[in-house]
Symmetry: C2
Subunit: 458 residues, 2 copies
Amino acid sequence: MTIATALDTLSPLLGDRLSRSKSDLMAHGQSESYFPPMPPDAVAWPETVEEVSALARICSEHGCPIVPWGAGTSLEGHALAPQGGLCVDFARMNRLLEVHPEDMDAVAQPGLTREDLNRDLRATGLFFPVDPGANATLGGMAATRASGTTTVYHGTMAENVLGLQVVLADGRVIRTGTRARKSASGYDLTRLFIGSEGTLGLITELTLRLHGRPEAVSAAVCVFGAIPDAVECVIATIQSGIEVARIEFVDAATAAAVNAYSSGSFPEKPHLLVEFHGSEQGVSEQAQRFGDLAREMGGEGFRWSSQAEERSALWEMRHKAYWAVLASRKGARAVVTDLCVPISRLAEAVEETRADIDASPITGPIFGHTGDGNFHAILLIRDGVPEELEAAKAVSHRMVERALRMGGTVTGEHGVGMGKLDYMSAEHGDAWALMGDIKRVFDPTGILNPGKLIPPAG
Amino acid sequence: MTIATALDTLSPLLGDRLSRSKSDLMAHGQSESYFPPMPPDAVAWPETVEEVSALARICSEHGCPIVPWGAGTSLEGHALAPQGGLCVDFARMNRLLEVHPEDMDAVAQPGLTREDLNRDLRATGLFFPVDPGANATLGGMAATRASGTTTVYHGTMAENVLGLQVVLADGRVIRTGTRARKSASGYDLTRLFIGSEGTLGLITELTLRLHGRPEAVSAAVCVFGAIPDAVECVIATIQSGIEVARIEFVDAATAAAVNAYSSGSFPEKPHLLVEFHGSEQGVSEQAQRFGDLAREMGGEGFRWSSQAEERSALWEMRHKAYWAVLASRKGARAVVTDLCVPISRLAEAVEETRADIDASPITGPIFGHTGDGNFHAILLIRDGVPEELEAAKAVSHRMVERALRMGGTVTGEHGVGMGKLDYMSAEHGDAWALMGDIKRVFDPTGILNPGKLIPPAG
């Protein structure tokens, strides 16, 4: 009943696809979060669902923690191994298994990344819309209920996954959902696994809902004098029913960081970036309505494009935002925050956050998916300067309190992992204990991604 | 530990809002399904969440089954009381508690019906889109994951409920979700309760996602020579990305039934009924694209309207379909079926079903939400003629097998209740046992709506 005996038993099964090399352990013990490295005891690269089932059974018998690994892009330490154990890297289960263009769905393995999926789909005229920014794997995106820039139009992973194949802690393999577009057949296990962060089972296959590539796409960037004007324009856009495919906010500090990062010349003011999808006529009508509204609300410096290359140039600011902000302070790492509130409270939430950061000793550009009421402050801190980590944690803590006070959630899209564990009780009350009870049904010995999402034992 | 002692304990709490009168028991022991009446031992009309919590605690202590009741419109015997116990009728918890037009959401009690909700919302310019046909309660709609004619555009209850207040079996009151548009904060308990059919908890409050009333609505009816042409037109419409707000199919037998029911003069052939929502310009563009496509595929006899009254007249056939079909055979009752398949298999599924019914001794008009791959055959049988019930069950059984063979689900929208229990194992395999395990976390003594959805004990 030890990790060591589990790994000894796994070794003949996986051969050189089980590694205990220091470099492999370190590569799988890092994260994009501010937590220190927490490496596993070994890394496995299974190739089939049968192998995943066998390793789960063996780990279950020996009480060895299992930490699933996609692309390692999560921001709350989801794939760290605080209790050691086996990291299961899905890199070798990365195939697109089936595409059904006539049903607009596809079946993929969990290690396939969203960019590779969309490249493989190009010839079909279909695409998978969920875009969290990073080139994450589909398994990881499902496990964390990823969303991102297109969610205002196409929804999150919860709206875009029809079904799953999942390996349970004891090695049982189950299927949830079907290829039908809807079902009223029992508990929605698909949605229970989506967002469960590897704590209920290992996703080994996903049936994805695809969308037709729009006939026409039009994008625009516009500039506002102050944060409230830009955010009020987002609110008015959503409320007036203009069908934006994306509507993103970046603040002046983000624009400045992007200019420095890539010699840009964006005005160093708050921006909105919008995109419309549809027919030529529909897109142009919606874009015009947005333009009228934005100008009324003080938007200026409009740049429009319906050409792919020009659109990319317009969206450069948003696409580079995270890396530009990270590079804006030499040697800094980021504490990434993730607040989501009802849209009527958004301007207030952004302004309070901006003022709070400005009054702190650290910097923190703000950008986000404002159409959903969701934004991020990227709090920049230097390693080895504990006062800065403390200041960042304090700002983050006040953002969380703000979200709850305004009727929102402590995480719009980054998930709980280890980073938001302390706030689950405040958001969910008794329902958090219930999550722990559900977890024990799926994983009675607690081997699946321990230390994440549910209440700590004891 | 008996139902009788539970009711005696409840009596002082609820006063005349606890009834054991024969007429109340019979009214709450009926259903729209083919099951015989199964009355409860008493009916309660709670007025507050505190009363619901108290009655759950008392029933829990005494082992008394609880069967929640909304409007009694479910089709699979969800609200029958096969083990007796207490029926909890939410008729007195039917208030709209909050409307937040700026956030496009509202908070309602479970006994509010969808028509009453939309009447109350009229002045706001917003509406709640889920439309299962019957004027069901919102609590019942959430509990059965209702969908219907607008699902192709607006989704099911799963996409339109942001959060819930739920009373658990032991009387604990929890909240799921927030008023934020999205969240990655832990297990998706909201979606776990939606579709759980009263087996996990009693819904006492719902936070609903509202939508803007469209600026323009355009509706059309067209006629096809044969079923495959109409269904292929639906498939082509969905695949070509035309944004239909509704796209409904009715077969020749349904058209004939509506003519007989309301002296109509619809051609007695397969029809499609479509609706487009959006801006004046957008609606007219989409409608034109649909018209071109439908004509190419043999559609004729187009009637269009963008005026509210004329639209109602066009949609009369669909709105009256169920009652017209029911009236088409004197003294008959209906065995309602509910198949949902990937859309590429829809024409085949409808044709096979039509041929199967035509070869049987019973009649069964077909109509449905073909945009989602979902349709119903309304199998008409006479009470007291067991051969007809047997024939209907055999047709229904073959429809279910067809759905599974084609990669679909045994129930698109009507739910499991008692009617689809026998097919859960075939659809879900080991995942059905897992549903039973989840149920025991929420309701260890099995008092919540026993006999529905999960595997029978023992």
